[in-house]
């Protein structure tokens, strides 16, 4: 087999895909990744030249939502072809093998591609009581991650659980759940948070790793191309925020007119993600477009950071990780005072917050 046939270019040619079609695909990926148009051409050249890449996917304390999301990546069928081209050597949900055969496949892939495979991880890792709270084939998640990370070229932590601990790490964190970055310290780790992450963000980052290597990351290990802006930065309702036009409840005139949802608890201003531009369900919409505020699912500790329907200006239970203060001041200072006076109640609410109809109407602090 000639060298070219082992490369993606050969695979594309066999499927009758022209260079122009491939350019079209790369233009779309590059624009989704906020790369310059010149990069689209480079991306096409490099993608065409990639060889089969071994990918090992480990699922730990997770709900399979991330896998559900990536397998529903509607974006072009050409993209599917590229990910068919990737050799997914181990994935609980998608692989045909089970039991010992599956675990042997994982070990075999690790040996065959030592130092070269990309390790994808979704789910957090429980470390309390020796990690007994989640095991696969008798092996704790902790042991498996340490074992598999050893020979990986890079690790991609998919979803908020693998990136930041996510729901399993929510107070009181009964299993001692931690993110990948708490366990592995000597490998490059790319965090792709979100609950779940946007499909094209996952596949786009993978395409970037295959072509240009590790993308530029921010201080939390997130690719800047997708997580560089906040939802608020790119929200089509932003002009209303700037003009001070806010919906006060989910059924008032402001809500019907499509005004800013800040006072109804939208976490857009402190949430770094690409939902406002890439959108969901094949680019159809995103939460704010359907009239609900952002819940900040791609930020650390989002589950413990105060109610989803509490305006950011009312303070959050975990201000350390949510840099809300600077944004909060201008918009709704009046709302802040009532909440802060309820010290004991706020503490109780922090531990167990039930959402009431009044919350939904934006009246919780009256």
């Amino acid at each position: 087999m000639s060298d070219d046939k082992q490369r993606l270019a050969g695979e594309l040619q066999r499927h009758g895909i022209t260079r122009r079609a491939f350019m079209k695909f790369c233009t779309s990926v590059a624009s989704a990744m906020a790369l310059s148009p010149a990069m689209a051409t480079q991306m096409a050249d490099r993608l065409a030249a990639i060889q089969r890449q071994s990918v090992i996917w480990l699922s730990f304390q997770e709900c399979t939502g991330c896998t559900e999301s990536i397998t529903r990546s509607h974006k072009p069928s050409l993209e599917n072809l590229i990910f068919d081209f990737v050799s997914l050597d181990y994935h609980h949900t998608l692989q045909a093998a089970s039991g010992h055969a599956a675990e042997e496949a994982r070990e075999a892939a690790m040996k065959a591609h030592g130092g070269k495979y990309i390790l994808l991880v979704d789910g957090s890792i429980p470390i309390k009581d020796g990690g007994v709270y989640s095991t696969i084939a008798g092996m704790t998640n902790l042991d498996m991650l340490e074992h598999m990370a050893k020979d990986a070229a890079a690790i991609v932590a998919i979803g908020s659980c693998a990136a930041f601990g996510g729901l399993p790490a929510a107070a009181p964190n009964p299993t001692g759940a931690v993110p990948v970055s708490d366990i592995v310290h000597d490998k490059p780790i790319i965090n792709i948070p979100g609950c779940p992450p946007i499909p094209v963000v996952m596949t786009g980052v993978l395409a970037h790793v295959l072509t240009f290597g590790i993308p530029e990351l921010d201080g939390m290990g997130r690719p800047k191309a997708f997580y560089g802006d906040t939802i608020h930065d790119r929200c089509y309702r932003r002009p209303y925020y700037d003009r001070g036009l806010f919906a006060k409840s989910f059924d008032d005139e402001g809500a019907r007119k499509g005004w800013c949802l800040y006072e109804l608890g939208c976490k857009g201003p402190i949430t770094h993600n690409a939902c406002a531009t890439v959108k969901w369900n094949n680019g159809t919409s995103f939460p704010i477009q359907s009239g609900h505020g952002c819940i900040g699912c791609s930020e650390p500790d989002f589950w413990d950071a105060g109610g989803f329907y509490k305006a950011l200006s009312t303070g959050s239970a975990n201000p350390g990780s949510w840099a809300a203060a600077s944004l909060a001041v201008g918009a709704a200072a009046g709302l802040a005072s009532g909440f802060l006076n309820k010290g004991a109640k706020a503490e109780a609410e922090r531990k167990h917050q039930a959402i009431t109809v009044d919350d939904m109407r934006g009246k919780s602090d009256e």
């Binding site: 895909i17 122009r20 779309s28 624009s31 906020a34 050409l78």
Partner: protein, 138 residues
């Protein structure tokens, strides 16, 4: 029991973004005219409401050239009424919008025949000529 139908309409009025984009386009067009520096704006990356998008489409209008690309789904490529400003819409094979771009250039690159395709065209054309010669042998 009749099916529950829930109709939610969230208004998406004009926010003024379309005019802001026009100003940006004018700057890019001036730069292109003097330096030849092309530019691509990703429409999906802009915070536009549906009304903003309609306004922008209306303001830019349609110009002299309209091309359709049939390559892994359709693409519609139109020059706007302002020469040098092109509006590109790429669709997937199942007609979903893949990307939407405004290009400031004299000719969007994707319209040109690509080198790799020309190379394989040479191969195919030579094959065809070979086959023709076989078939027409006395």
């Amino acid at each position: 029991m009749s099916p529950l139908s829930l109709q939610i309409e969230v208004a998406q009025p004009k926010t003024g973004m379309a005019r802001a984009v026009l100003g940006e386009l004018l700057d890019h067009l001036k730069i292109f005219a003097t330096s030849g520096l092309t530019r691509v704006i990703d429409i999906q990356g802009l915070p536009l409401s549906d009304a903003d998008r309609d306004e922008l489409t209306g303001l830019l209008g349609e110009g002299e050239v309209s091309a359709q690309l049939n390559s892994f789904g359709q693409s519609q490529i139109n020059e706007t009424r302002y020469a040098g400003i092109w509006w590109l819409r790429h669709y997937t094979e199942d007609s979903a919008l893949l990307s939407e771009l405004i290009e400031i250039t004299d000719m969007p690159d994707i319209l040109r025949s690509q080198q790799a395709d020309i190379t394989s065209a040479i191969e195919h054309l030579a094959q065809t000529i070979g086959q023709q010669a076989q078939e027409n042998k006395p």
